[in-house]
């Protein structure tokens, strides 16, 4: 017998999601992920001054506004002839890094961990402990994590002035500067963050944690009392006990655009496409499909550089306001797991080799990136020379095309712009969760989250907690998806 389970609204994520699944003999046989809101940002961009992209696109999303700011600035930079001073690279990386790491922290404590307090898990040994730690608003770890989150906010205040929606990132540099006073404050704030990570989250130093490069060593680490009584240890043990290491296998194809540009070329986080082996990334291979999306066009798919956004609410058979991006005709997973695999992080790579892609590896990859970023931010601060400029000579003569690619917290973020007479002609945006949460494409290929739900066994149709856990492990941002 087939049951249809609809979760609408699916909450504790950014934006608005509806999920529909078909269950046959407790196994998911069909999954539909629907973005249910259209706001039309791309339609607002035509005819504007290209610099307006810096004001408009961050406002697509409250949780990853600075990532859009970086993508917009890079889009304009690629269409201009400007030079960016070295300091501006570090400033931009600090803003992006603070946003991404803060998002990961918030995701773990406020969005994902509360699922463990679901009554479904009452039968497990970890239940009382996770209720005490992770109950929304009142959990004792949640309270401490929200305090630690302020470290990122204060860094953001120093380097970006305001957040969400900073306008500090321009094509030729940052409007903000640091001097010896604010540099010292920033380093002090990062020390406070280190205290939280060491005492509350890890139960060991960051160095000791980053020494763990294999699954076996992780098992060894978990035996220590300090480690297993900290939030990460509690989480890993709970996840293994509840079987999250066998839940939510993705498409096993991963994409990263690369991010955190460094002075003199190169990026801190590399780009690439991974499907059992690593390939160079080529943006020409991206297509956005609209077969099951509420949009109208003469063709089923396009490269975003000539993308079209015409809403069509009456479209028969469509079920999402999200388009369906595909890479070389593949449905691909983006986000921290993709980045950790493509950057060959030793622990996460080994974990994926041993137990594959699943909720546990996806969550650990995100937390691993948060830890690495909190370390890296100190190095970027130390890279800044307060006596050297932060802002290069601006220009407003635009070439006809611009592309800005970066990595937001949830994965690949790209902006594509065409201009005419120094005005925006077309502006197209593909967001991370458009990749992960996409509907089926013209060939019927499901999106990555849809795919990861298929074949999952549901223990209780009245409380399909497996669906919650799998979807939230991708950390969807529907505000972005349905821009």
């Amino acid at each position: 017998m087939t049951n249809i389970i609809t979760i609408d609204p699916f909450n504790r994520l950014e934006g608005d999601l509806k999920v529909e699944i078909e269950v046959q003999d407790n196994i998911i046989t069909e999954a539909r992920s629907s973005g249910i809101l259209f706001r039309g940002f791309e339609r607002m961009m035509a005819g504007r001054d290209p610099m307006d992209a810096i004001v408009f696109t961050p406002r697509i999303c409250g949780i990853c506004s600075a990532s859009h700011g970086v993508a917009a600035a890079k889009t304009l930079t690629s269409a201009l002839t400007v030079e960016t001073p070295d300091n501006a690279f570090f400033m931009r990386n600090l803003i992006l890094g603070a946003e991404v790491a803060m998002s990961h922290l918030s995701h773990f404590y406020m969005l994902f961990a509360p699922d463990l307090t679901n009554q479904f898990f009452k039968k497990f040994s970890f239940f009382n402990d996770v209720v005490e730690r992770f109950t929304p608003i009142s959990g004792k770890s949640v309270e401490r994590a929200i305090k630690a989150r302020h470290c990122f906010l204060e860094i953001m205040g120093l380097v970006a002035g305001k957040w969400p929606n900073t306008l500090a990132i321009h094509p030729s540099g940052t409007t903000s500067t640091l001097n010896l006073s604010s540099l010292t404050r920033a380093l002090g704030i990062l020390c406070e963050l280190d205290n939280f990570l060491t005492r509350q989250f890890l139960g060991c130093t960051i160095d000791e944690w980053l020494d763990i490069d294999k699954y076996d060593k992780l098992e060894e680490w978990l035996k220590n009392t300090d480690h297993k009584s900290c939030d990460l240890g509690v989480f890993i043990n709970a996840a293994v006990e509840a079987g999250f290491d066998r839940l939510g296998r993705g498409p096993d194809k991963y994409l990263s655009y690369g991010a955190y540009d460094l002075p003199g070329g190169g990026t801190w986080m590399p780009s690439g496409y991974y499907d059992e082996r690593l390939h160079p990334f080529d943006q020409e291979l991206i297509r956005e499909h609209i077969a099951n999306s509420y949009f109208r066009d003469a063709v089923e798919s396009r490269h975003p550089s000539n993308g079209v956004t015409v809403p069509y609410a009456d479209k028969h058979g469509a079920y999402s306001w999200a388009k369906a991006p595909r890479y070389n005709d593949n449905s691909v997973e983006v986000g921290p797991l993709a980045r950790m695999i493509i950057s060959r992080d030793p622990l996460i790579t080994n974990l994926v080799d041993k137990i594959g892609s699943n909720v546990l590896t996806r969550m650990l990859a995100r937390l691993q990136e948060m830890i690495k970023l909190s370390r890296q931010m100190t190095l970027w601060i130390e890279g800044i020379d307060p006596n050297q400029p932060f802002y290069g000579k601006p220009s407003s003569i635009y070439k006809s095309e611009g592309i800005g690619l970066t990595e937001a917290a949830r994965g690949c973020l790209g902006h594509w712009m065409t201009t005419s007479a120094n005005q925006i002609e077309n502006y197209q945006i593909i967001t991370p969760s458009a990749w992960n949460m996409s509907p089926k494409d013209a060939d019927g290929r499901p999106g990555p989250v849809e795919e990861s739900l298929l074949g999952t066994e549901i223990s209780d149709k009245e409380n399909p907690v497996e669906v919650n856990i799998i979807i939230r492990s991708f950390d969807p941002c529907m505000s972005c998806t349905v821009h």
């Binding site: 504790r12 809101l37 999303c61 409250g62 949780i63 929304p136 002035g161 321009h170 940052t174 001097n179």
Partner: protein, 323 residues
């Protein structure tokens, strides 16, 4: 207990994120302080799916009292005024909004989108949105000019893109404690206490402003008003006195121009963002109550009187010492 329902319309979620950025009190402390019972919040609650609809239904059936309804995001009316750009449980979201607003003791529009339409209503409102009780600066919106919540006040607007967390929490506090009356609101239904100041007040670049020592390029220390588009002299907010993010920053402290995001005509009323439009020598962003003729006279004299210290530092990104 005060029952709170928080809804997101055509929204980026940025006001929820800003709310979580609060300190003195923090969001968690505010929940305790104000004895708030969150019926549902889309970002924070564990309740989801049909159970959310049961909460709505209990409110509509008067089984649960709705003390406070907070809305962020614009009201989605498109396409062709059907509301189908946002279907919430198979019904246009704006229909839920209308029903629930009529059951609430207090309705707050948080962020410029909920208050006035905001950025989603830009570009000649091609995407068909409105604010709760305004379309830009014109009364009306979803609920109509005459709407009063059950407690007797109109929609209380706390704009900003995003709204400052203090404005949100302090407004909620004042409303629940009965401190905020009609007399405390301006003509845009904003609490005057936050929106009668200018973002210009408390700006660290004020001495540069006084002597018209202006930055020519971003990152320089001089004032951004004369050339680089700053609207802090028009923007009704107390940003530079209050500061953001643990009192560490503000727009102008981050070196970029205020774009008057609390304004009912944001964002298209603020164009261009990064350069200053002038009529003759006078920036159109001159504070509304400063007579233009006086401005021209005073600006000319103060430029002549400008000390070298300011002249030199205005066009430098780092401190220039007096020689």
């Amino acid at each position: 207990m005060n029952n709170l329902l928080w809804l997101q319309g055509a929204s980026c979620g940025g006001d929820t994120i800003s709310f979580l950025n609060s300190e003195q009190p923090s969001a968690l402390t505010a929940f305790k302080l104000l004895n708030l019972n969150i019926l549902w919040h889309p970002f924070l609650s564990t309740v989801q799916g049909d159970d959310v609809l049961s909460i709505f239904q209990d409110i509509l059936d008067d089984k649960v009292k709705l003390d406070l309804l907070v809305v962020e995001g614009a009201v989605p009316n498109g396409p062709n005024n059907t509301g189908r750009f946002f279907m919430f449980h198979d019904r246009p979201f704006r229909d839920w909004l209308t029903l629930l607003c009529n059951k609430a003791e207090i309705v707050m529009g948080v962020g410029t989108c909920a208050a006035f339409g905001g950025i989603v209503g830009s570009s000649k409102n091609i995407n068909e949105v409105s604010g709760l009780q305004f379309q830009n600066d014109i009364k009306g919106g979803l609920l109509g000019e005459k709407f009063l919540a059950k407690g007797g006040l109109p929609v209380i607007n706390v704009p900003g893109c995003p709204s400052h967390p203090d404005w949100i929490i302090e407004t909620i506090t004042a409303l629940l404690k009965g401190w905020l009356t009609n007399d405390d609101l301006d003509e845009l239904h904003r609490p005057s206490v936050f929106f009668s100041k200018l973002a210009h007040h408390g700006c660290p670049k004020n001495e540069y402003y006084e002597f018209k020592a202006s930055a020519h390029r971003y990152s320089q220390q001089g004032c951004l008003f004369e050339f680089l588009g700053c609207k802090g002299t028009l923007c009704e907010s107390d940003c530079n006195e209050r500061l953001w993010l643990g009192r560490t920053g503000s727009c102008t402290r981050g070196g970029f121009p205020c774009i008057a995001c609390t304004s009912p005509k944001f964002p298209d009323g603020q164009l261009p963002y990064f350069s200053t439009r002038k009529v003759g020598d006078v920036p159109v962003t001159l504070p509304r109550d400063v007579p233009k003729a006086w401005y021209v006279g005073i600006a000319g004299v103060s430029k002549l009187a400008c000390p070298n210290r300011l002249k030199n530092n205005a066009v430098s990104f780092k401190l220039v010492k007096d020689k």
